[in-house]
Every structure is written in C-alpha cells, then in structure tokens.
Symmetry: C2
Amino acid sequence: MTATTTARTPRTSPATSTAASTTEALSTESLRAELARRFAERSAAMARLGPGMAHLWELAAEHAQGGKLLRPRLLLAAHDAMSEATGTTAASQAEVLRLASALELLHFAFLLHDDVIDGDLFRRGHLNLVGTLSAERETGRTREDSSRPTPEGLHRGQTGAILAGDLLLSQVHQMVARAEVDPPVRTALLDLLDEAILVTVAGEHADVALSDGTEVADLDTILTTAARKTAAYSFALPLRMAAALTDGPAAWHPVLDRAATHLGLAFQLQDDYLSVFGDPARHGKDACSDLREGKQTAIIAYARLTSAWPQVHEHVGNRGLTPEAAQDVVGALRSCGADRFVLGLVAEHREALAALLEESARSQAPLPAAVRELLGALDAELVGRAS
Amino acid sequence: MTATTTARTPRTSPATSTAASTTEALSTESLRAELARRFAERSAAMARLGPGMAHLWELAAEHAQGGKLLRPRLLLAAHDAMSEATGTTAASQAEVLRLASALELLHFAFLLHDDVIDGDLFRRGHLNLVGTLSAERETGRTREDSSRPTPEGLHRGQTGAILAGDLLLSQVHQMVARAEVDPPVRTALLDLLDEAILVTVAGEHADVALSDGTEVADLDTILTTAARKTAAYSFALPLRMAAALTDGPAAWHPVLDRAATHLGLAFQLQDDYLSVFGDPARHGKDACSDLREGKQTAIIAYARLTSAWPQVHEHVGNRGLTPEAAQDVVGALRSCGADRFVLGLVAEHREALAALLEESARSQAPLPAAVRELLGALDAELVGRAS
C-alpha cells in the first residue's frame, strides 16, 4: 500500500466522522477561540486570587493571541493527514483541538521566559508582556510606549512574565496528562512533551552561552543550538504528537524528526536573515536587535571568517548601536557575502527536506502523500515570508 | 470507629506489608538518596545535550540537596499515619517515596525562580545557584564568594536558574502524571498539584506587589499573601496528597487545609521574626535582608502603626542599608514592640491549630490521632527552631 493511494482512501475508522470538523478546526478562528477558552477556564480561579492575578492573566491572554498559531495549525493539519492515512485516531476532534491549543500555550510560556532572559520589551513591534507591565508601573495603567523602563518597572514586568510562564508551563503538562486518549497514547504524548521541553531549554541555555562568549560560536554549534531552540517544540513536537495520536508506524518517527530539524533550521536562518537584512517595518522586530544583543547567528559566524570582520566585530553586542552605525554594519555584511551565505544555508535545508521526503516516498513505510505535501507547503510558507 | 482506636489498629490492607519500609523511608537519608536518583535519571539526557547542560544539572542537583526536606518528610509521615488509619493506600512505598521527592523538586523550582525575582545570590549563608553560576562566570569555575557580580555574571546565573526551574517544574508534573496509582487518584493528585502551584504563584506575585508598593501592605493582605506563598505547597499539598493516596474521607480535607494555613503562617511569621531579630550566624540568611529588600512583613505592618515608624520607614527597601544602621532599625522595632507582636501572632496560629485538631478529634470523621500528633509535633519543631 503506497502513501499516494492511502492518502486518497476514505477513512473507515472513527476518524471519518470528524473529517468535516477537522477542516473547520483548521481555521485560525477555531484555534483562537480554543485558546481563549484555555484562558477563560482559569479566569475564575485567578479572580479568586485577587485583582493582581486577574489582571496578569488577562494581559497574558491578550498577548498569547498575538501569534500566527504555527504550532497548533501544524498539529491539526498533520493529524488530519495522518489519520486519513492510517484510518485511525486516538482522540476526538475536540481533544485534538485542545492539545493544539496546549502547543500555543507552551510556545507562549517559552516566549515569556525568553523575553525575561533576553531583556526584551517588544515583540512584533508591540510591547510584550514584560514591556506592558513595565509601562503600567511607570505611568499607571496606560500602555505608553516605554523602551527604557525604570528598574522597578522592569522588575515588575519580568516578575509577571516569569510567574505567568510558570503557570502556562504547568497548564500544558496538566492538559497533556489529562488528555482523553488511551493510557499508552497519553504516555507517548507525555514523553514527547518532556523531550521537547528538555531540548528547547538546552537550546536556550546554549544560545545565551554563545551570546555571552561562554561557548565558542562556530557554525556547527550555532546550527545545533538553533535546531534545539526552534525545531524541537515548533516542528518535531506537533508532528510526533500527530503520529502518536494516529498510530503512525515507528518508521515515520526519524523521518518526522529529521524533517523538523530541516524546517526548524530553514525557519531560524530565514529569521536571522530578516533580522539583519529584512525590512523592520515588515518583520516588526527592533531593527538589528540581533546585532545589538550580540546574538551569535550563522551570519556572524560567516562574517568572522571574512575581511569584513574588523568592521563588524566591535558592533556585535553593542547595546548602544545607533541606526546609522547599524546600517554601516549591514553594508559590510552584505559586501562580504553574509546575506548570500545565509540564504544558501536556507536553500540547503529546503533541498535536504525535499530529498528526505522523496526518500520516504520510496521507502517501505512512506510518510503519507498528504503529510509530505503539508511539509513541502509549510516550508514554502515559512521561507517565503517577509516577517 | 474513632480515630484513637483506628490509629492503633494493625492494618489488614496492602499497606500492612509496607509498614517497616515506611519507617525506614522516613529517614532523611532515604529521601536524599531518592532525590539524588531524580537528578541521576536525567543526567544521561543532560550529558547528551552538551557540557553546559550537564554542568547546570550537576549544580542544580547539589543545590537541591541543601534543604531540610520538610515537605517530602511531611508527605511520608502523613501517608504513614493516614494509611494506618484508613487501612489502605493507593501506592507502593516506592511510589510514595517518588512523589515525596517530587515535592522537594517543586520546592527547589520555586526557590530558583524566587531567587531570580528577588535578585538573591545566597541561601542559608552559601551562594545559591544564581550566585554560584555568577561567580563561575567571574572567576572561571571557582566558587569564590561574590556578592557583587558583574551584570554578565548575574545574567548567566539568572538564566541558569530560570531554565533549571522550568525543567524541574516540568519534571514534577511528569512524575505526578505517571504516578502508578488508579486513574481517579492520579487525577486527584494532578488537581492538588495544579491548585498548589496556582496559589503559590499568586502568593509570590502579591509578595512582589507588596514590596514594590503596587498593593497596600495592610496586615490582612500580608498574612493572606504569606499563607498563599508558604502554606499551599509546603503544608496543604503534602497533607492532601497523603489523604488522596490513602482514601481519607472528604471531611478531612477542610481540616487539613486549615491546619496547613495555621502551620504555614506560624512558620512564615517565625521566619520573619528570625530574619529581623534572630542570630544571622544561626539562621544563615543575610542579616536584615528582609529590611533591605523592603519585604512587607507583619513586623513592618505593625511598626507602621506605631511611633517608631519615622525611625524605620526610610530604611525599608534601602538596598544600601549598613549593618550599623540595621541595628538601629532593629532597636527601634524592638522598642515599639514589633518583636512581641509577631511572636504573639505565631502563638495565635499555634493555638488555633491546637483548637482545630481538638475540634476534629470530637467530630464525626476525626483526623486520626497519629495525624494530629504529627501536626502538633511539626508545629513545635517549626516554631522551636532558630534557623
């Protein structure tokens, strides 16, 4: 039975009855509503704990809605494609939607702690939760833009982000631990969550060590770190959860993990490219924030090996980098070919993904055609973006 | 069947066979070994993620061993007393020991994030994990005392503590989610863990809001905050987990919760007393660190209402408070009776606990005598301590 035929075969299992609702749930609106329910179901508990907690939770709910829902959309789409192929699923559509929303909570929890660690106040051109809480402290409940909070404001903001992150991380585990699926499937989901958190934390830890010079910033280390920080929970976790829910064969697992690594790296390298060479008005990040924070990216690792390094070196990690000086650094990076180098790496990972998917199609237990199409489309979507 | 007879009746259920091992497990040594196993079972995974993670995990394991194991000891002792009374337990002795070690991991995870939020570098007179990592950064792998790390050192230390805290918080949920007990018991344990984390986070959040002046620091708010921060996970969680494991009647629940609140407040108020009026050489905390951090305690709330306030006021939250000036503040606090006031509150909660236990003894579903004895002994142990 080949994947191309399997993927087109109507399902005869319980999954069949949920085909229509799966399609509906794919919509961003369903996911946003589900995510809102995750916060709403705890808002009474927060209110009981006083206005401070109620307010923190309300702000967290607002900020959590700002994302593109990449991870939950991937879980839903992969679950749909895989259950069609295997003809089975362990979970109701409502349960899959719940688990998908848990992935967005996990993403948001990581962002909150990441923003504390990086001292960031903005995300996508708006104040993040740290920045919003800091600004409130400064001006009394207004959202006035504040990129230089007082130490007291920053402390309040970072405290709120650490604690909200702890609550969300706990909630994700609670949701997976209570998933209404057979015990072995639930254990598999818990294993996948555990592994994803461990690898992501290791990626974040190494990222900070690279930035502060504790670890040597060679290209290999930079790419390993990026894969851990991005691929594990953003790509491998949704794909492997979908496979666990739909009883996908074990032969899929390494293919999904390798696909996740290529997607994660293509995504992260494209992000690095946009941060330095993209249009800040479109990607919404602080222009050249990567340079200012001394982030050790593939761009910097490449530039270090070229004659442009003397012009770049002193500005990496310079918190006072002016927009004018930043433009000079960007010019030097372009002239040494760092832009072409990083785009070349993106292309390499896209090609490797395509080769992997082709190889899988010819294997004994191929990934279903619909899953391969999904991964190919995701790759194009991620890399084609300007933000 | 009254509690006094029940508690003395030999058990006839599966719990009987574990009576001897329970007694053994009560020893601190068993718990330390169990806690070491929690870290050891993840050290291979950490090593796979590189020397940075392996080192962070090794340090976390060392620092986690520094506590008095109050919470796990309470779970073991309460489980022993309750299973003897009810004649049943849902878990093997090995499983109870595992769950007890999870409580210490939870405690340590909270301490790590608490130390980041409070900017603390020491605990019990030694560098904490933040301080240790900061000092390494400064001096290259030595533990040289460093109470004034560079911003880079502090960043490394706080990053490590945030990430290690996330890993431990995740591990606690994973352990409870996989507890080898009947599904309804496991769900009850998950509920209790969830509630304890929520309430503790609310307490920590309010504590920071009190210190920075966002919330009004009246005595009621201060005591509510202290109960949330201390009683919920340190006393209510071990006691209620023990009751859930041993099928204790629902009538026990409110009694255990109220006992936990009295114990938590007596414990916290005694801690506040020791921090200001105790001997720093014995309690190991930075002398007057509560004053320096502007911590809003019952002592401060009382002093605010007395004529000593003008002498105290300006020093609360003064990070540059010298030991000499601190002694003057302590003298002013003594002269206005703040020491007697806080010790009076401790006594009130001890009396309330005793009254609660007596009331329970006369009730329809009394707490077993052995549990009442345990709580009474714990109260005396906690309050009799000098550190």
